[in-house]
């Protein structure tokens, strides 16, 4: 099989689109793990919830895409507050495994409810009119919406990185990660900070869900398919590393894209092969710090 340069360029671009989803999802996971030490398995379900809410708002209330870009993360953020306050709060002192099991249980519940209501074939959601066209780039036809996905998620990722790494609020967060008791002694409300961090992390997932709604069929299973890969991305990038998860997400999207051309059968496993290699060479991940 010969692959032309234009062919490679188009695969690179498509890889970036998928990578954008990985980046924004793994970023949320990294933020949550950083402060809460919880492996949030419910991330995929909340991603799906963001997409399904977008569909529901359009079909039942006539609320369009652009509003949902704001409203869906807000709604899922509130769900996040409830989850953290009512459930997660009780298990911080326990082993990581309990958080993983609890959030996995939540995932099964949420997905099960939507599966029994809507089935698995999915619900159609069209791209907003403004982005419905596509642009001929010479080497490929790129739907404008996909370009928007890359731009929007990069903006959100970078904004998140900026807030956490460069602002006073971010400094509190990072300090809270290192030593919560000491930060609390300085008069900062750490429990509130934790709640809001979780809400923010899952709101990112919902944002990705809204972005994904016109790209993949809105279905109760859409999160399940993605989340396992995203976990691998987080592991490769290094647990809790903000920039690490963004870069790894984008990079793995591109690698996966190329695999689809050179050896398509391996495209669903390539990320895990890389994960194994990275763990063998750098157990803390590419960008992670060994504790």
């Amino acid at each position: 099989m010969t692959i032309s340069l234009p062919g490679l360029l188009s695969q690179l671009l498509l890889g970036l689109v998928n990578g954008s989803f990985y980046a924004i999802l793994s970023l949320g996971l990294a933020v949550i793990f950083g402060l809460l030490n919880v492996i949030n398995f419910a991330h995929g379900a909340l991603f799906m919830l963001g997409a399904v809410l977008t569909w529901m708002a359009m079909n039942y209330l006539g609320i369009g895409y652009w509003w949902m870009l704001l409203l869906a993360p807000l709604a899922v953020g509130i769900v996040g507050v409830l989850i953290e306050r009512l459930l997660l709060r009780w298990i911080y002192k326990l082993d990581h495994l309990y958080g993983l099991l609890l959030t996995l249980g939540l995932t099964l519940l949420i997905e099960g409810v939507f599966r029994s209501v809507y089935g698995v074939s999915g619900l159609p959601y069209d791209a907003p009119d403004l982005l419905a066209d596509s642009t001929d780039l010479g080497f490929m036809v790129l739907p404008n919406y996909r370009a928007w996905v890359v731009v929007a998620s990069l903006l959100v990722c970078l904004a998140t990185w900026f807030v956490i790494e460069k602002t006073r609020l971010g400094a509190y967060l990072r300090a809270g990660t290192e030593n919560p008791r000491l930060v609390e002694a300085f008069g900062i409300n750490v429990p509130l900070m934790i709640t809001l961090t979780y809400a923010f992390g899952v709101a990112l997932a919902a944002f990705a869900g809204v972005l994904a709604a016109p790209v993949i069929q809105v279905s109760p299973l859409m999160g399940q398919n993605l989340i396992i890969v995203v976990f691998a991305v987080v592991v490769i990038g290094g647990m809790g590393s903000i920039m690490g998860s963004i870069l790894t997400g984008l990079g793995l999207g591109v690698i996966e894209g190329f695999t689809k051309v050179f050896y398509p059968e391996a495209s669903s496993t390539v990320v895990f092969v890389i994960m194994v290699i990275v763990l063998l060479i750098r157990p803390a991940g590419l960008f992670g710090k060994e504790k």
């Binding site: 695969q11 689109v17 993949i216 069929q217 398509p264």
Partner: protein, 396 residues
């Protein structure tokens, strides 16, 4: 002493009778995809259809209540096979009813053959079930990849779609569908310029679709099903693939069309064994099913009902649940119901007519679920594997 022995003999005899009676009870074990990408194609709806048939039969066979067990195989052949084995060994299941996913079907059929139990399958496509991997205990009831290839494949080549590129689900079913369609395309003077395999339950098809487009083929043969077909069609439309290539949905279910909407599927040719709006009898079943499920039955679910009825009638006629006796009965009886009309061949293939359908344009659809128009009725004797083509070891 003698009287004590007599009592003991009586008790033992009664116990023997009881255990024999337990084996005579009809138990159907239905294992299919209940939760993943194929669960709308059959899933819970399939179990509901089977239960409807059991209830319509009177709930009893050979004087005992009929029992239905169900399980989710999660599209994993090992889970399907283990479940079938467990049911046969510990529950005394008399008929294993396999559902969607060819990989699981091949594994389960093998277990049923080894344990000498009747095995029915509707949802799985692979023609190997009654060909290379045929078993004296298998009945392949609804459709198979050969019928799909001969139906949709030849219709498209006849319309001028000579060069093909395949997008294939990377497991038993996708491979079988691609192979069977390739044979049809080549036999009719067409060419296959390339193919790409995608993992089952993939989420992004854009990359594969661009490869297809670069091949410059006229026809994109989608050798996949369910959620994979849905996402392929959606992405093909988005990336403008449909402007240069025509899509050939080799296995399209009504739940796929419902999910995508007519706007995205208009004009698509497909082959199916059954459609709810064919005649009064099909509409009557559809209305009953709709009441329970709030959606129209697809071909698989209608076939599930019909297959259960056929099996129960065979058990009653054979007056036994013994697999050899029931299979002999199944292969000798005539079947004629709202689903189809025909006979089960020695290789286990239920031969009946199929339909070549075209998806209606939005303007042509006058009521909910009014999606297909019949293009042609395909003769069952020609559309399935013929005796001359068959590689089944015991059908010579």
């Amino acid at each position: 002493m003698k009287s004590k022995l007599t009592v003991l003999a009586l008790v033992l005899g009664a116990a023997g009778l009881a255990s024999h009676a337990a084996y005579a009870q009809v138990k159907i074990g239905f294992v299919t995809d209940m939760s993943s990408l194929y669960s709308d194609v059959e899933g819970k709806g399939g179990a509901v259809a089977i239960q409807m048939a059991i209830d319509d039969f009177g709930g009893k066979a050979l004087g005992q209540p009929i029992e239905l067990l169900t399980a989710d195989h999660q599209n994993k052949p090992d889970i399907a096979a283990t479940k079938a084995r467990e049911w046969i060994d510990t529950q005394g299941v008399t008929m294993v009813f396999g559902g969607t996913n060819s990989g699981t079907a091949l594994a389960t059929a093998k277990v049923a053959q080894e344990k000498k139990r009747v095995y029915f399958n509707n949802g799985a496509g692979t023609s190997a079930l009654t060909n290379e991997a045929c078993s004296p205990y298998t009945v392949h009831y609804a459709y198979d990849t050969v019928a799909l290839a001969k139906g949709t494949g030849s219709a498209i080549v006849d319309k001028g779609g000579k060069s093909w590129f395949f997008l294939t689900a990377d497991y038993a079913f996708g491979q079988a569908l691609q192979d069977d369609t390739t044979k049809v395309v080549l036999a009719k003077g067409g060419t296959v310029v390339g193919s790409v395999k995608h993992p089952l339950n993939a989420s992004d098809f854009s990359s594969f679709l661009l490869q297809a487009q670069n091949s410059k083929a006229q026809i994109l043969g989608m050798a996949n099903a369910g959620g994979d077909t849905i996402n392929t069609i959606k992405a093909a439309k988005e990336f403008g693939i449909t402007k240069t290539m025509k899509l050939a949905g080799l296995l399209v279910f009504i739940s796929d069309v419902h999910s995508l909407g007519l706007k995205n599927t208009e004009g698509l040719l497909l082959t199916t064994s059954w459609y709810w709006d064919l005649n009064d009898a099909t509409r009557k079943f559809a209305a009953r099913y709709f009441e329970k499920m709030k959606r129209m039955p697809g071909e698989t679910q209608a076939a599930d009902y019909s297959a259960t009825m056929t099996y129960l009638r065979a058990v009653e006629a054979a007056k036994s649940t013994d697999a050899d006796k029931v299979m002999a009965q199944l292969k000798s009886m005539k079947i004629d119901d709202f689903y189809a009309k025909g006979q089960i061949r020695p290789d286990g293939r239920y031969v009946h007519d199929m339909y070549l359908m075209q998806v209606k344009a939005p303007a042509e659809s006058t009521k909910p679920w009014d999606y297909y128009k019949v293009v042609a009725k395909l003769n069952g004797d020609q559309v399935f594997t013929t005796k001359a083509e068959s590689k089944c070891s015991f059908w010579k």
